[in-house]
């Protein structure tokens, strides 16, 4: 989903979470949970914060 909706993004693993960064100094989401199963609320909040919610909805049925 991020490949399509957030081209150029990068992901940095923190000890307790993943930090997802948009390119060119764009918004950063440093609290994405490190879990096998992620609740929709986390995905929706991350997508909204990064400004890609409309695109993400099509991928994830949010």
């Amino acid at each position: 989903m991020l490949e399509k909706c957030a081209p150029g993004h990068s992901i940095k693993p923190y000890t307790h979470s993943f930090c997802i960064m948009m390119p060119s100094g764009g918004p950063t989401y440093p609290t994405f949970p490190k879990k096998d199963q992620i609740d929709k609320g986390h995905i929706k909040k991350m997508a909204r914060h990064l400004g890609i919610l409309d695109c993400a909805i099509g991928f994830l049925s949010l």
Partner: protein
């Protein structure tokens, strides 16, 4: 559905957080007041950050989200301390994290506050009402080693102490 979709009930809350983080050769005191939107949903309560915008937590009850919010922030600040080599960089990263938000979340929080002010939405439980106009603040200060006292252990070790919610009204 689009980026302005809304939950049916939303409580505009103000939370406070205070803690001391040990970084690479520095101690940092963090004192902040932030904004979140809490929403009862199936299976519990979700709390969506406004300032900071890049956070969401859920728990069976609002009181439980309070603990989860504090713990998530503390873990993140520890990660920030690991990633930054100096107090100045740590301070800048924390300040950016708290300030960064999105316009839809801010608008939803303000709309929810207007609903509370108009009496159309009542807050959860007996939360104190906060009518101040300040929306959020964060203060990150360096604590010189020679000013550290045993009392500081209370702040460093208080991971299980929840943040404090007020209802924005």
């Amino acid at each position: 559905m689009n980026q302005s979709d809304k939950q049916s009930t939303a409580w505009p809350l103000i939370f406070s957080y205070r803690g001391t983080i040990l970084g690479q050769g520095f101690l940092a005191d963090i004192n902040l007041s932030g904004r979140v939107l809490a929403s009862p949903e199936s299976g519990g309560v979700w709390v969506y950050g406004v300032n900071p915008g890049a956070i969401a937590v859920s728990a069976p009850t609002l009181a439980d989200t309070n603990v989860e919010l504090r713990n998530t922030l503390t873990r993140l600040f520890i990660d920030f301390a690991r990633e930054t080599g100096t107090f100045e960089k740590f301070k800048a990263v924390v300040e950016r994290f708290i300030a960064e938000s999105d316009s839809v979340s801010v608008a939803e929080w303000q709309a929810a506050r207007a609903e509370v002010r108009a009496g159309r939405v009542t807050g959860p439980g007996d939360l104190p009402k906060d009518t101040s106009t300040a929306e959020y603040f964060v203060k990150v200060t360096q604590k010189p080693i020679n000013t550290v006292t045993p009392q500081d252990n209370l702040l460093v070790q208080q991971e299980s102490t929840p943040a404090v919610y007020d209802l924005a009204a």
